[in-house]
């Protein structure tokens, strides 16, 4: 973590004394060091007049760290703010992580005793989607193949070997109907983004992207509502993204690429439908037909996404924002989306019960 933060600061051309705030992602239950943010301040040798803390909840965490670092700058409490975090799932017992997940995504007295892990909720989305829209598991699996194709060109990605639909389908089941390659693997990662005002960025002479819009919505459910509702509609995604697009003064059609938090194949399909990128029940076609590929009309998860770039949950949001930054600065190499100027990012918690969306804009 310390060397990643030092690298990020060096790339931004800022010295430790310039950093006024450090917003860390909440640590996973496998982290031994508690009080992590203050521990890291000593490791990094930082003294801050703004806020130093850990923030976030579940999948929202990375986006919240970014959001709060931006707020520190916007409020005038920091000239430079860091959004950073580290996850080492490989250090912990799988049981610890699973048990945490089961208790985090359910009412501990009324849902967790049934032992449904976070990906189990997406599995039930998938079962419902296959049933309602008469779609096959193979059609949903195309998302894993498409994302792997992107990750092949991403040095940060956890899995880079090309994949076929057949290989996806022949894996052992994990949460039916989803198999091993349709759900995220355990992942490690560390990341640090540097935020400042646009005036400061401009005068630094370093390349930068700006936050053009931001939106958030919580639908008031924890995983599912206790009354009948359309579980696969993800209304919070639509409301948060609409808010972010409005703030940026643009329409979805203006977006050149999207990094959408999607731990499972089905999640990417559902969130692209929710934000009206594709009609309901039709989102599965996009990966198979190449629409969401790098060279397609609506590139989604050019990093490889949770399934291939990797999914260290608390920092996945920061990795998504990093991918947009690389794309908008035309630093994405073989996975570069040509002429990319506007990028959309989402992250979420629960079954997309809440969504945090950001629109990033590249140099004009």
């Amino acid at each position: 973590m310390a060397s990643i933060a030092a690298d990020a600061m060096a790339e931004a051309g800022v010295a430790p004394a310039d950093i006024d705030a450090a917003i860390f992602t909440q640590n996973p239950p496998t982290t031994r060091q508690l009080g992590f943010a203050t521990f890291m301040m000593a490791q990094l040798g930082l003294q801050c007049r703004g806020l130093v803390t850990e923030v976030g909840q579940l999948g929202l965490t990375g986006g919240v760290a970014f959001d709060q670092a931006a707020a520190q700058v916007q409020l005038g409490q920091a000239d430079y703010a860091l959004a950073l975090g580290v996850v080492r799932q490989s250090l912990g017992e799988l049981s610890t992580a699973l048990d945490f997940g089961i208790r985090a995504v359910g009412d501990v007295n009324f849902q967790s005793p049934f032992a449904l892990p976070p990906i189990g909720w997406y599995a039930m989305d998938c079962a419902r989607y296959l049933y309602e829209h008469k779609v096959s598991r193979a059609q949903v699996a195309e998302v894993a193949v498409k994302s792997r194709g992107h990750a092949v060109h991403n040095e940060l990605a956890q899995f880079r070997k090309p994949l076929s639909v057949g290989e996806v389908l022949e894996q052992r089941p994990i949460v039916e109907p989803l198999g091993l390659l349709e759900v995220p693997a355990r992942a490690d990662g560390a990341i640090c983004l540097v935020l400042c005002s646009e005036d400061t960025a401009r005068s630094s002479g370093k390349p930068y992207v700006t936050v053009a819009g931001r939106g958030f919505f919580h639908e008031g459910y924890h995983q599912i509502g206790d009354i009948h509702h359309d579980m696969t509609a993800f209304p919070s995604a639509r409301l948060a993204v609409d808010q972010a697009l409005d703030a940026a003064g643009i329409a979805l059609a203006d977006i050149d690429l999207a990094e959408l938090y999607a731990p499972c194949t089905i999640t990417e399909i559902l969130v692209t439908e929710a934000i009206a990128m594709f009609p309901r029940g039709q989102g599965w076609r996009a990966a198979a037909e190449g629409v969401t590929s790098i060279a397609g009309g609506s590139p989604v998860n050019t990093s490889g996404g949770c399934l291939s770039r990797g999914h260290p949950p608390q920092i996945t949001g920061l990795y998504g924002l990093l991918e947009l930054r690389e794309q908008l600065l035309e630093r994405a190499g073989q996975r570069q989306v040509k002429g990319a100027r506007l990028g959309l990012h989402t992250c979420e918690l629960g079954n997309y019960n809440a969504t945090l969306a950001h629109v990033l804009e590249g140099p004009r």
Binding site: L94, S95, T96, L98, D99, I102, G106, D107, V108, N109, F110, Q111, S112, P113, F114, A115, L116, P117, G120, A123, M124, D125, A127, R128, Y131, R172, P173, I174, V175, E176, P177, G220, Q223, I224, G225, D226, I227, H228, H229, M231
Partner: protein, 143 residues
């Protein structure tokens, strides 16, 4: 209305905290019923039981027994679980839409065939050495 009862023999995987708010529900299972709170102010049913009504914030409730009849909204089978949940093995979970308008997550007791979405299901009370719990299974016409 009395619900079918199933003897499962094994303990429930997590210790369940019974509070003043949820006690009437757990008591109802012991008496063979599945009772949920109905808000005295706005009539909304809710589950799990809560201190206040999510619709109007009313805090007075009557307890209504449910028919136990509903439709299967979705289901999954989980192949990787921490060892403390091993006694559920295999872990099968369902989302059930009850005819009174409530939706809940529950254990699924398989009948052999694959779960059939939008098919009729029946809530059952399960008996364990450490107390009562509940599950859903395919509806049988003779119950």
């Amino acid at each position: 209305m009395k619900l079918p009862q199933v003897e499962l023999g094994l303990r429930r995987p997590l210790p369940i905290e019974v509070t003043a708010v949820t006690l009437p529900f757990w008591k109802s299972l012991e008496s063979g019923q599945f009772c949920v709170p109905r808000c005295k102010h706005c009539d909304r049913l809710s589950f799990p039981p809560r201190k206040i009504c999510p619709q109007c914030h009313g805090d007075k409730f009557d307890w209504q027994p449910l028919s136990g009849r509903g439709l299967l909204y979705s289901a999954t089978k989980v192949h990787s679980s921490p060892s403390i949940y091993g006694i559920l093995s295999p872990v099968r979970v369902a989302i059930v839409d009850l005819e009174e308008g409530l939706r809940l997550l529950t254990r699924w007791l398989p009948s052999g065939a694959d779960p059939c979405l939008d098919c009729p299901v029946q809530l059952v009370i399960t008996r364990h050495p450490d107390g009562h719990h509940y599950a859903a299974r395919e509806a049988r016409t003779h119950t």
